[in-house]
């Protein structure tokens, strides 16, 4: 837990720092390329300490005359019930709000596990003149940093990440991050209080990125909510191994867990186990209740619509990048459903 506590300390410091320079960080202040990495408007809300300032979302654009064109490249599929689906559905929601396909065009490429293929797709969308090109995977960042300067008219976005590459002089990249540990913390708290056995099982995919944030937050939440709660953590080493994820859930139940959670598109296998074995499930990234209404207590849902709208508004106001967004409970980006 050492890394997590250092992380909290760091984040708290960042929050103080941001509070100090809050007046300067007005919405859509044009980013100035500097040698120092400059992060604008980052909201570092730490689990359990919600007194941190929030992104001020730019008001939605007033009926743009031209069709706004968005392209997204994602590693998994639009129906993965997890990370990729959350962003795709977010785009569809914004499209509906803006007035359908006439107002906003969405092009997508899914199943881009291969980074080289994704890089080619990003490049192609940019050269086709899309206004906003979203690289929906942390692993695409390196390709994006190479690509973005070649298309200064295009806005790019990537996540989950915080780096907008301003240190490298790039000004047309947005970054977005979900504070997955927040929901993890909240859900972990609920789980600990609900648990009768006092044992909680978490199964993650690979011990990195968004999944690690969520798992650590959940563990931390559960352990701080109720002393003596035992939290068992396992990883399957894969984002798509449904069978192993199911076996991991079985193992947690056999180890006495009555509350289960996990991250990645492979958790659908574990939800079935929770249902069959009479355990409760907590979801993340996307609404997972309907798979097993009797077993799923709650899901932390990533609602990207606010961020998407702000990126569109910023682009139309001439600010093509440089902002770093975070989904939090306070700004409505994280929703418990």
């Amino acid at each position: 837990m050492n890394t997590f506590s250092t992380r909290i300390r760091w984040a708290a410091a960042a929050a103080l720092l941001l509070a100090a320079c809050a007046p300067a960080a007005a919405p859509t202040s044009a980013p100035v390329p500097t040698a120092e990495p400059q992060i604008i408007e980052v909201t570092r809300v730490v689990a359990g300490t919600p007194e941190v300032q929030v992104i001020t979302a730019t008001p939605p654009p007033a009926a743009p005359a031209e069709t706004f064109r968005v392209a997204i490249v994602m590693p998994s599929s639009t129906t993965d019930m997890a990370f990729s689906q959350s962003m795709y559905e977010g785009l569809l929601a914004v499209q509906r709000e803006m007035g359908g396909e006439g107002a906003m065009e969405i092009a997508y490429s899914e199943g881009m596990f291969s980074v080289p293929d994704a890089a080619a797709a990003l490049r192609d969308y940019a050269s086709q003149g899309y206004d906003l090109v979203i690289a929906h995977g942390s692993q695409y960042g390196t390709s994006l940093a190479q690509l973005a300067p070649e298309f200064p008219e295009t806005s790019f976005a990537w996540g989950t990440a915080l780096d907008t590459f301003q240190a490298q002089g790039v000004t047309n990249v947005f970054a977005y991050q979900a504070e997955a540990q927040q929901g993890g913390y909240v859900l972990g708290t609920i789980a600990a209080l609900m648990s009768e056995s006092g044992v909680i099982g978490i199964s993650g995919p690979v011990e990195a990125g968004d999944a690690k944030l969520y798992v650590d937050g959940f563990k931390f939440g559960a352990e701080s909510a109720k002393a003596g709660t035992k939290v068992n953590v396992s990883y399957t080493g894969s984002f798509s191994d449904v069978s192993l994820m199911a076996a991991a859930a079985e193992t947690h139940v056999a180890a006495g867990a009555d509350m289960l959670t996990g991250s990645s598109q492979s958790v659908v296998g574990a939800i079935g186990v929770a249902k069959d074995q009479g355990a409760y499930w907590f979801g993340t990234q996307w609404e997972q209740t309907f798979l097993a209404p009797e077993a799923v207590v709650a899901s932390q849902v990533y609602d990207w619509t606010g961020i998407i709208k702000d990126m569109i508004a910023s682009h139309q106001a001439g600010v093509l990048g440089g902002k770093s967004y975070t989904l939090t409970f306070k700004n409505g980006g994280l929703v418990i459903a």
Binding site: S77, T79, V233, T251, A254, V268, G269, F290
Partner: protein
């Protein structure tokens, strides 16, 4: 380490291991038939995916699990026939046609999933059947005899396959065709027919392997849900030395170690998660390396047969 070797944990490992081994058994036993006759089908993974999708789709619209299972077997047979046509009649390089079949099954099952189902939903699959008396055996009973039907059938398949291969005329023909097709041919055995039969049977079992995931063990369909299990199944045939009992040994070793590594993580033993995940792959290699008995592969494996060739 001591927390790992308590009785409940060992029984838990046994229970999970048996469940994990089920799809491997179907797929690998089917592949054993094909390889014994000299055809090596690397496309098992694609057939499994099509089987998983078909079983789930048919079962969820008809409400009949058996119909779903039958449909998966049917689709498996069709893809097996396709593989047989390409590798037996057209005498294609088997490794590459298998990769083609894998891509085809992966793409088609995902496309059908997206167009007909649109998203992940779940189904109530085959329920556990407690076997009277046996399930009441203290301790072991629940781990061994409280599974769904497809799990039992997978394990029963092993002695049956062993009997067919070793003790029947058909088995003799299969082995002859895989060992020395020219001699078999001269004795009046139709090499093509036997190979068509075994590859199709292999396809049926691969289809059922997929169905065992989507309507018996996991009870849902998600794109690429087999996640490489078909390739592991092919590897297990080599592990088993082309013998059904050996395949069973390999499938159980791999699955039990997989269940064990999850327990290692859950029990909080100091081992990096990625290293734990490596264990089944690592130990499968090691086990084969130190195994004493080593089988000779069917001499004509992966060699297309052409009458009149040496």
């Amino acid at each position: 380490m001591s927390e790992l070797f308590t009785l409940p944990v060992l029984l838990g490992i046994l229970y999970s291991g048996i469940r994990l081994a089920t799809p491997y058994l179907y797929a690998a036993i089917g592949e054993t038939f094909a390889q014994r006759s000299g055809v090596y089908n690397l496309g098992v993974e694609g057939i499994m995916l099509m089987g998983a999708y078909t079983a789930f789709y048919v079962a969820s619209i008809s409400g009949d699990l058996w119909l779903g299972l039958g449909a998966a077997a049917g689709v498996g047979a069709m893809l097996g026939l396709l593989m047989a046509f390409v590798s037996v009649t057209l005498r294609a390089e088997q490794g590459i046609s298998g990769i083609g079949l894998h891509l085809f099954g992966l793409g088609l099952s995902t496309l059908l999933f997206k167009t007909t189902l649109g998203g992940v939903t779940s189904i109530s699959g085959f329920q556990p059947v407690r076997i009277p008396f046996l399930a009441d055996i203290p301790l072991l009973g629940d781990a061994l005899f409280n599974h769904n039907l497809l799990v039992y059938v997978a394990f029963l398949l092993v002695p049956v396959a062993n009997w067919v291969i070793n003790d029947t005329t058909l088995g003799l023909k299969i082995r002859a065709v895989g060992q020395n097709p020219a001699a078999a041919d001269s004795l009046g055995v139709s090499v093509g027919k036997i190979r068509y039969l075994t590859v199709t049977v292999g396809g049926v079992f691969a289809g059922i392997a997929g169905a065992s995931l989507s309507i018996a063990l996991i009870n849902l369909f998600q794109e690429n849900m087999t996640n490489g299990q078909g390739f592991i199944a092919v590897a297990l045939v080599y592990f088993g030395g082309w013998r059904p009992w050996g395949v069973l040994g390999g499938a159980m070793l791999f699955s039990l170690v997989n269940a064990l590594q999850l327990w290692i993580q859950v029990a909080g033993i100091e081992l990096e998660s990625d290293i734990a995940v490596m264990l089944p792959y690592l130990l499968t290699i090691v086990a084969l390396a130190v195994a004493v008995r080593r089988a000779q592969q069917p001499a004509a494996l992966s060699k297309p047969f052409e009458r009149g060739e040496a």
